[in-house]
């Protein structure tokens, strides 16, 4: 087991709390880094009436989050410190859709649905790595370089045994990441639904106008009833 897992957990949970605070309160980028460092220290302070630290309490319930989560948190953290442009909207949408689709399949198969157990293939992940390789090449071609970087970090983490798990799925997904992806996916779905409703409305209006015989004759739009 990796003896430096506490460093990884400190970074991940401090990043989560720091990003939530930055989202709620408007803090200048110079103070954000200082706040992140203070959070890292605070996570190791013992809780009242409990013989262990806040970080130990959190990781006891939630365990270590995946490398994919850590990579995405790192991208957002760099962006909040004005050190990076962050992830593009197209890249984020694609990532969320892939995570939602894959995690749905994974959780359903573990729960007894379907013939195979997808989680079991993560222990001997030759098939999974091949699939990730295909996704890597595809993302490289369409220039989603942050997803490519995440995949490389996941592979390095898996072969470097960063996490205590021997299953590649645990390096790819965790429940918090899936919840975040579901939230983003819901927003994307609502946006798509709104765009689709606008497009359908426009189409119906155009078709209604084009079906009007007066318009066909004159070639001018018919005045509205109010006019």
């Amino acid at each position: 087991m990796n003896n430096f897992i506490w460093l990884y957990d400190t970074f991940v949970w401090a990043a989560i709390i720091s990003l939530i605070f930055c989202r709620i309160f408007r803090i200048s980028s110079s103070y954000k880094f200082v706040g992140f460092c203070i959070l890292c220290a605070l996570l190791h302070l013992p809780l009242p009436n409990v013989p262990y630290s806040t970080l130990a309490y959190i990781t006891n319930w939630m365990s270590s989050l995946s490398v994919m989560s850590a990579a995405i948190l790192g991208v957002y953290l760099l962006r909040s410190w004005d050190l990076s442009y962050g992830i593009t909207r197209q890249e984020k949408n694609a990532l969320c859709i892939v995570i939602v689709f894959a995690s749905t399949m994974l959780y359903l198969s573990v729960n007894g649905w379907g013939f195979g157990d997808l989680y079991a293939i993560g222990f001997r992940p030759y098939l999974l790595i091949t699939g990730m390789g295909i996704i890597f090449v595809f993302c490289w071609i369409i220039r989603f370089y942050i997803i490519c970087g995440c995949l490389i970090l996941i592979m390095l983490g898996y072969y470097g045994h960063i996490l205590p798990s021997n299953n590649l799925w645990d390096y790819l997904f965790d429940p918090l990441l899936v919840l975040w992806a579901l939230f983003c996916f819901a927003i994307i779905a609502i946006q798509w639904a709104m765009q689709a409703s606008v497009a359908i409305t426009l189409y119906l209006r155009r078709s209604a106008l084009s079906n009007n015989p007066t318009d066909i004759k004159t070639g001018t739009p018919q005045p509205s009833r109010k006019e």
Binding site: S64, S165, W169
Partner: protein, 418 residues
């Protein structure tokens, strides 16, 4: 860079997996029968003093022929819970209880109770290295449980800190263990478990000899409890797992058979009805014997039956009731602890589990369903049956929620009662 990454992927996917799924069974020709008397050899209590909330106890055979028992219980200090260990020596005496893990349990003041170490599975690979698998469980919230293990490399004196086991996609949460492990020919171990994620699914979590999780096999959807696995030969395993919990006193069971050491399973029929059970296979004619809670009354745990199956678990026939009044008369008595219920009450009062006032004590006893109006309830649960290298059978179970009881019998007695 793209070409390098593709080459890296090709390199690591080119290695084929090499996994052996053959089971390792005990050498039956080496079994030595030491006693031929047709009787129950010994009855004892494992625990030195009564405890509350005893978790399901478990047994394992140590390399020297000793029997090693592990169970969990509350300790007198409030809000603490411990895993206890005890060893059955060759002189037919249990040693002193030894708490191998003590953990604080935030039981009071929390919206939900957090029960640590609800069930344990002990393993002893060699004379020095002992392992205990256990589940930290939150009562009423099985999804929040964690599977953990502690290791001792000095024969059970010093134990490591708990190490969490990851074998579920919900960050290792929702796993429970119970029942005897499987041993594979390559030295790996399969622990029967159940994963509570969106529903419940039986699993065999597989560990290598270094106790790292190397895989798991799913045994379809079930309810409630981990599968009870009985290896019949190097490739065939019978799984008995609760199927329906429509009647709370006993589950209907689902029988499944795997002919490839647990990778694929086929459903089959069984008439088994029980709440908790433990099964062993007899060496020669492959009969299965089970000790089970075959309760008939609602919410009762008053039946601890010995059942036998001649067709690999399809049909079961009850042949004996261990705690039936007529059976107890013919059993050897526990001489040194006759007034056990009074001792239990004294211990509970002393440890401030139970109020000292007589009226309050009666109310407490009624609420805890231990004794009421001088009538003590009979409640037996979580049996664990084990066959040792001398072909003797060891049964331990939770007796009235406050003690762990041990019964030893032999093949001759079994042949006489069947």
């Amino acid at each position: 860079m793209l070409l390098g990454a593709v080459a890296f992927w090709l390199a690591i996917t080119a290695v084929p997996p090499t996994v052996s799924f053959q089971l390792a069974l005990p050498n039956e020709s080496a079994l030595t029968t030491t006693t031929s008397q047709k009787k129950i050899i010994a009855i004892n209590y494992l625990s030195d003093s009564p405890s509350l909330n005893i978790g399901a106890p478990a047994l394992s055979v140590l390399p020297g022929g000793k029997i090693w028992a592990v169970w969990s219980a509350d300790i007198p200090q409030p809000r603490y819970r411990a895993i206890y260990s005890d060893v059955w020596h060759a002189d037919k005496v249990w040693g002193a209880d030894h708490a191998i893990l003590v953990q604080k349990s935030p039981r009071t003041g929390m919206p939900v109770d957090y029960l640590q170490a609800a069930a344990v599975v002990p393993l002893a690979h060699d004379a020095r290295k002992h392992v205990v698998f256990y589940a930290d469980t939150m009562r009423n919230y099985p999804q929040m449980s964690h599977l953990k293990m502690i290791v001792s490399t000095d024969g059970g004196t010093e134990w490591s800190l708990p190490h969490r086991i990851y074998s579920s996609p919900l960050a290792g949460m929702g796993l429970h263990v119970r029942h005897k492990p499987l041993f594979y020919a390559d030295g790996s171990i399969g622990i029967p478990a159940i994963a509570h994620i969106l529903g419940s699914t039986g699993l065999i979590v597989r560990f290598n000899s270094d106790y790292q999780v190397t895989g798991h096999n799913r045994i379809r959807t079930s309810v409630g409890s981990a599968p009870c696995l009985v290896p019949l030969n190097e490739k065939t395993i019978v799984s008995l797992q609760p199927r329906s919990n429509r009647s709370p006193q006993r589950f209907e069971f689902q029988r499944r058979v795997s002919t490839n050491s647990g990778q694929l399973w086929q459903s089959d029929f069984t008439d088994l009805r029980a709440r908790t059970l433990s099964i062993v296979a007899l060496p020669k004619n492959r009969e299965l014997i089970a000790v089970l809670n075959n309760n008939t009354r609602r919410r009762a745990r008053d039946s601890l039956a010995l059942a036998i199956s001649n067709d690999q678990g399809k049909h079961w026939r009850t042949i004996y009731h261990f705690e039936h009044p007529s059976a107890i008369q013919n059993q050897p008595q526990i001489a040194h602890k006759k007034n056990y219920m009074q001792e239990i009450e004294r211990t509970l009062v002393r440890d401030q589990h139970m109020p000292d006032d007589h009226a309050q004590r009666a109310a407490w006893l009624a609420a805890s369903q231990l004794c009421y109006d001088g009538i003590c309830r009979t409640r037996y649960r979580d049996p664990w049956l084990l066959r040792d290298e001398h072909n003797n059978f060891h049964l331990i179970y939770v007796w009235n929620d406050v003690l762990v009881k041990h019964i030893q019998f032999n093949q001759a007695w079994l042949n006489a009662v069947r």
